[in-house]
């Protein structure tokens, strides 16, 4: 786990404004203080990844599945085309309200996805994600 200085950078890619409020609230309460950036449009996130130097890339990405125009899978597919390993030191988690098995299976297919978090996400889980102490299981219910 690569920390960007004392404050890890977390990107939240989700169009659900209410949920982004909730996550924002949680991130204020974490053990380790962190910086966060919210994208309601995944396309904007891909643009940024293309342009940013590696050092400025996020440590953690929390990726929602169901977003208009570009969803999680589209995002992950596009990322692969940017470079062979576009996010070398980033942990990407799918964070979704869906408990539909097909979504979970699909997430497994992407090696870039470290784990699957189901909403509502708890503070404990967020702390574990940031601290890198999340258990090795793929799916994490809160």
């Amino acid at each position: 786990m690569n920390l960007n200085g004392p404050s890890p950078l977390i990107w939240v890619i989700d169009d659900d404004d209410i949920h982004n409020y909730v996550v924002g609230h949680l991130l204020n309460m974490t053990n380790v203080q962190c910086k966060s950036e919210v994208f309601t449009d995944a396309i904007v996130a891909t643009e940024k990844i293309k342009k940013l130097p590696v050092t400025d890339l996020p440590d953690i990405i929390l990726l929602d599945i169901n977003m208009p125009v570009m969803n999680a899978w589209d995002f992950l597919d596009i990322i692969k085309t940017i470079a062979p390993d576009p996010l070398p030191s980033t942990r990407t988690y799918v964070l979704s309200s869906s408990i539909y098995e097909k979504d979970i299976d699909k997430a497994r297919e992407y090696p870039a996805v470290y784990g699957y978090l189901t909403k509502p996400v708890s503070l404990t889980t967020i702390n574990d994600v940031i601290g890198g102490t999340l258990s090795p299981t793929f799916v994490h219910d809160s």
Partner: protein, 626 residues
């Protein structure tokens, strides 16, 4: 008395003698006179003895023993003329004499004794006639008779001779036929004793007519005989009138036991009935046709299926009723079959029945031309039109079910997100609320909770609405004018139309009315127009055109705008997707087009779209007519 009389007697005798000699010259007989007073004395023999026996007169006169010598065999009487017994009248004897050349001939000997004035035997006058011809004929007749008797005895048919109503003779086969052990059990009885009561009257009449001479010959009469035991046998009887060897009228009766034949005939009839009824009642069509395809026989189901009468079918050539497109290939396969005796082929093809309907047919053609009892191509086919239709219906049904299943899956997926998302948020918000310290934070949280709950509620409503779409039926359809519907739909969009300044043109002339579900149609127009307004271009004044036209069995509504367009290449599949929004900056739930498409498709129509980014978009809605 005196010499005069004797002279007269001698003269008479001389004259008679001469007469005889003259007479006998041409005929095979001779006359002789034997002296009874001196027994061996041949007084006279006529010269014709030479023609008959080959011996001359003088040989007889010279040798008294010659007369005895020539006797080979005589009849009952002894021809030796030492007569103890003198025949009073003309005596007739048959004998065999040997001629001089050794040949033996049959003779008839007639003789009479004459007496003198005192009553004592004077002389015998006799005549010997060559009866060889007659005898030969007699022997031949007897031989023939013997042969016939043998034939009759050996005949496998029963033979009986009946005279005056009584059986005189039966052969062995007749004895067997009547179940007797010997002819004696039958001879002497009446013919009618052995005729079945039902047939007796008929038989009696027939025999009478024969005996009266009205008919000479009866042949092959079906009748029934009764054996001695009482058992009944079927018979075939013939009879004829004839004259027997006693010169009396008789009837010659021939009888054949046909019981077995009758039983097998009945079996054949039964099996024919069984077979025929099987074929006639078969649901399949069965026909026999000749090598050219003309019908020789058609079962009843053919009449039913093809609507032609049996008479019409008898004149039809099978190929004429085959559907034209299938004719050539059927003919080729048929001709190929003609070359293969005992082979069969399975064909699927179409027939046009009398009503002009096209029927799908499948079945077998079996070549039995080489079997003399059949001499036809045996066709066994069935009407599979319904089956094909129902197969097609099944396929259609399967498609529809698949589509439904897909839709349900889509719905499941979508609600899994769109229902759970606000719920998950609510859970988190309640958690946050517990820790909320400040007043206005509390208020913030409560606001967000409200939003989440409303989102939840809306999603549920959408889902319910989408689910209810499947159940709409045609009875909710009504005839409407596009103009009216358009006006009602755009009434609800008045504000947006005004604010946007969009110009809307309509062209409903080509198809002014439609028979459709009113609610749906209003929703469709409202949605498409609203989209056109929402996605207008900021670079130019917005215009929208609505047009209707009839294309084949559809009415097509076109909604064209000059807005920002859609990148169909990348996002075409998402256009009609549920909760798919391509321009998140523009407000919308993302179910508008999904609903429109569902509504259109649920009523048997479909949609198409053309678009170019920054040029405009055209939506085509195909609605089924009537």
């Amino acid at each position: 008395m005196g010499d005069g009389l004797q002279v007269k007697e001698t003269k008479t005798e001389e004259r008679l003698q001469t007469y005889f000699e003259l007479l006998s010259r041409g005929y095979r007989f001779y006359l002789f006179k034997l002296n009874m007073k001196t027994p061996h004395n041949l007084m006279y023999i006529s010269p014709s003895c030479y023609q008959m026996l080959g011996y001359r007169q003088k040989e007889f006169y010279a040798d008294p023993k010659l007369r005895t010598k020539i006797i080979i065999s005589d009849g009952i009487n002894n021809l030796n003329p030492t007569y103890k017994y003198i025949p009073a009248d003309v005596e007739y004897v048959e004998a065999q004499f040997q001629r001089k050349d050794g040949k033996i001939i049959w003779v008839e000997l007639h003789r009479k004794a004459f007496y003198d004035a005192n009553g004592s035997p004077d002389f015998i006058l006799g005549i010997v006639i060559d009866s060889s011809v007659r005898k030969a004929a007699e022997l031949k007749a007897r031989e023939t008779e013997a042969r016939y008797e043998k034939l009759i005895e050996m005949s496998p048919d029963g033979v009986a001779i009946e005279k005056k109503g009584v059986i005189q003779f039966v052969n062995r086969s007749m004895v067997e036929l009547l179940g007797a052990k010997s002819p004696e059990e039958i001879i002497g009885r009446s013919v009618c004793d052995f005729v079945h009561p039902h047939y007796q009257k008929d038989m009696r009449e027939k025999i009478e007519s024969i005996m009266k001479g009205e008919t000479q010959l009866l042949s092959h009469i079906d009748s029934r005989a009764v054996q001695l035991s009482g058992k009944i046998v079927d018979v075939d009887a013939s009879a004829r009138r004839f004259i027997d060897n006693k010169n009396e009228e008789a009837a010659l009766i021939f009888v054949r036991n046909t019981t077995d034949k009758k039983i097998s005939e009945q079996k054949i009839r039964d099996s024919e009935v069984l077979f025929r009824s099987t074929i006639e009642n078969s649901v399949d069509m069965i026909m026999h046709c000749d090598k050219d395809g003309n019908f020789k026989y058609v079962s009843h189901s053919c009449v039913r299926e093809l609507s032609y009468s049996a008479e019409e079918l008898a004149k039809i050539n099978g190929f004429d009723i085959i559907y034209p497109d299938d004719r050539q290939s059927s003919k080729e396969i048929f001709c190929d079959l003609l070359k293969k005796p005992a082979q069969s082929i399975f064909l699927t093809f179409r027939i046009v029945n009398k009503a002009g309907e096209v029927l799908w047919i499948e079945g077998t053609f079996l070549n039995l031309l080489h079997v003399s009892a059949v001499n036809a191509i045996v066709v066994n086919i069935r009407n599979i039109t319904e089956r094909r239709q129902s197969e097609q219906e099944k396929r259609d049904l399967y498609e529809r079910i698949k589509q439904h299943a897909n839709k349900l899956e889509q719905l499941t997926y979508v609600t899994s997100h769109n229902l759970r998302a606000p719920l998950a948020n609510l859970l988190s918000l309640t958690e946050i609320m517990r820790h909320a310290k400040e007043e206005n934070m509390m208020e913030q949280v409560v606001d967000k909770m409200e939003i989440s709950v409303r989102r939840l509620d809306n999603t549920l409503r959408d889902v319910i609405h989408i689910m209810s779409l499947q159940q709409r039926e045609e009875k909710d359809w009504q005839q409407m004018s596009w103009e009216d519907i358009y006006n009602e739909a755009t009434q609800r969009l008045e504000n947006q139309i005004q604010q946007s300044g969009v110009v809307i043109r309509t062209a409903f002339k080509d198809a002014p009315t439609i028979n459709f579900n009113r609610t749906y149609l209003i929703n469709i127009i409202q949605n498409l127009v609203e989209n056109a307004i929402k996605y207008r271009s900021p670079n130019r004044p917005a215009t929208i055109l609505l047009k209707t036209e009839t294309i084949k069995k559809y009415t097509r509504l076109t909604v064209v705008d000059n807005g920002i367009g859609i990148d169909l290449k990348n996002y075409g599949t998402k256009l009609f997707g549920l909760y798919q929004r391509l321009h998140p900056e523009i407000a919308g739930k993302g179910i508008g087009l999904y609903l429109v498409k569902s509504q259109v498709e649920s009523q048997g129509g479909y949609m198409e779209v053309e678009s170019e980014p920054d040029v405009g978009t055209a939506f085509y809605v195909y609605l089924t007519n009537n």
